[in-house]
């Protein structure tokens, strides 16, 4: 929506759907997906090249107008995440960085402590830091204080497509954070994305659900519509259930004879 931009780290986004480049069957579909979804920010990862194989450059499939969000995947400590972030910036990826520090290989849960430490360092170095975290309010406030440009709580484990399992905790972040809240990971269907936006999330980041759909281009478009619908509903301030008061005034009726009250 044109009049409702999202600002992160001084950059304005008119699309609140962030996407990722992982798991595409054919990376050439990424450009089409971006065009169809209107997504203006996409994640990439940094890896050692395979010296035997042929290297291809994922950046070839991303239009220059789309903001790159390199992630620190592979990092197991804050120090490793910091190193990857610096490399990504030196490589010309811009100031954005998604901090993703994962020590648990079973559920791929982010390590909130290492993530906070990396955020502190990188924010000081001028990065636009988007930490990927478990939705924990005191942590989110610390990330804010450390200079995070947004917080990215997970809805469900990475790639699980299970939706907003952490919704009540994310709601606390939305209610209390000054920086944008971007729901990352777990969003498996457009309706999940719409629900996150209805709740008041500032954006959602969707990778697996788009990349692994049979038609990732059409799915990108579907997510974009869902995000827009959810955002519109949030802004339109859904009518909430209202309790009708009883005709009598048991609590405030005394005000009609207030002179008698000493």
């Amino acid at each position: 929506m044109e009049n409702d931009p999202l600002t992160i780290g001084g950059h304005e986004f008119t699309s609140r759907l962030f996407t990722g480049t992982g798991k595409f069957a054919d990376d050439r579909r990424i450009a089409d997906m971006l065009a169809a979804s209107g997504s203006q920010l996409i994640t990439v990862a940094l890896r050692r090249i395979d010296l035997g194989g042929k290297s291809h450059n994922i950046l070839d499939f991303i239009p220059k107008t789309v903001t790159l969000l390199p992630n620190t995947s592979g990092a197991r400590t804050a120090a490793e995440a910091v190193r990857i972030a610096r490399i990504a910036r030196e490589a010309g990826c811009g100031p954005f960085i998604k901090i993703e520090v994962i020590t648990d290989t079973k559920y791929l849960m982010p390590d909130n402590y290492e993530t906070l430490a990396a955020t502190e360092t990188l924010a000081r170095e001028g990065f636009v830091v988007l930490p990927y975290v478990l939705p924990d309010l005191p942590l989110a406030k610390r990330l804010e204080d450390a200079g995070a440009a947004a917080v990215m709580p997970l809805g469900a484990p990475i790639g699980s497509n299970r939706g907003l399992e952490t919704a009540p905790l994310i709601a606390l972040l939305i209610e209390n954070c000054r920086v944008p809240v971007v729901v990352d990971a777990g969003i498996g269907r457009p309706s999940h994305a719409a629900a996150a936006m209805e709740m008041g999330a500032d954006a959602v980041l969707v990778n697996t659900a788009i990349a692994t759909a049979e038609d990732p281009v059409a799915m990108g478009r579907a997510f974009s519509l869902a995000v827009e619908a959810g955002r519109m509903a949030y802004l339109a301030k859904m009518a909430e259930e209202s309790r009708t008061a009883r005709a009598s005034s048991p609590l405030t009726g005394f005000l009609d004879r207030i002179e008698d009250i000493v």
Binding site: L137, P138, K141, E175, N176, R178, K237, A239, E240, E241, S242, R243, T244, A245, R246, S249, P250, L251, T252, G253, F254, L255, I258, I261, V262
Partner: protein, 369 residues
Amino acid sequence: MSFIDIVEKYQHFDFEGFFGQVTDRDVVCAVAKEKMEPLDFLALLSPTAAGHLEPMAQKALRLTVQYFGRTIQLFIPLYISNYCSNQCLYCGFNRTHAIERKTLTLAEIECEAQAIASTGMQHLLLLTGESWEATPMDYLEAAVRLLKRYFASVSIEIFPLDETDYRQLKAAGVDGLTLYQETYDRSVYRQVHLSGRKADYRYRLDAPERGARAGFRAVNIGPLVGLGEKRREVFMCGLHARYLDDRFLETEIGLSLPRINPAEGGFQPAHPADDRTFVQFMLALRLFMPRSGLTVSTRERAGFRDRLIHLGVTRLSAGSCTGVGGYARPAERKTAQFEISDQRSVAQVAQAIAAQGYQPVYKDWDLIA
């Protein structure tokens, strides 16, 4: 960032224009909301919302019981000095008033503490005028250390301090800070605070934030209702509470709406709020800040306070004396800061609370040093 930014944001807001456009539907919608935005809150402060007090009260009661249960926390103020270098038009301690001035010695404070403790009160609010000569930091610290021997909780309602001073008092045992801005309207602020350190609006405005940063467990704020345009004042105070609440998760933010009572000097408030409007304001605050404590002092009369128990209030003072040294020696009650309306004893107030179906709480917590 300071709350001053938000004060400035609303400096030229057209409050009258906004109130003129608030419809009944706007009020109904605002009441129904789970999380109210600032303008929803303002709608509840509008004259239009005066016609919706019962549904507001129903929800306020539901929220209050949800977050606080049916309990009322009791506290008692202790004035240890009425020396003051300020000249606040509405205050009995105004330095130009020819009242008897007194600062209690530590021995006298101990007598007061004993008299108060015998009523069962465990939460004490320590008050002074503003005088760095009469009540310097080392005196305040010693007073707090002494009082901590008698009370579970000692809060302060004294002149604003630097963060380091707050830390020092926290270390001495203070766990709560009450500091009323009096008025958020800067021009009114200038008009009623003629001289003294208190004339510094900004230093006072930022003090609750300094207190929160210093680590006080509770910070209580409010306007002195009657000084500035009342709806605007309550609005800014609500925003101030939310500002603090958003930034200091570890601090309980409390609110109070003290109404001007006659004090020495016969000050006439320019914007008095009648009881109905006062109730509307309390309800609006409860709906806007569902988890914040709401305090009502003995400035309000007994029968009215009893009714307010069902309308969002969570803390009441009781058995209060606003003169210096008046607990141990009732003859000292003549030099009050303001006039007390609810003259009941602690036991009587506790009884009244119980009669309303609520539990009076003398001791909500105890800081283990």
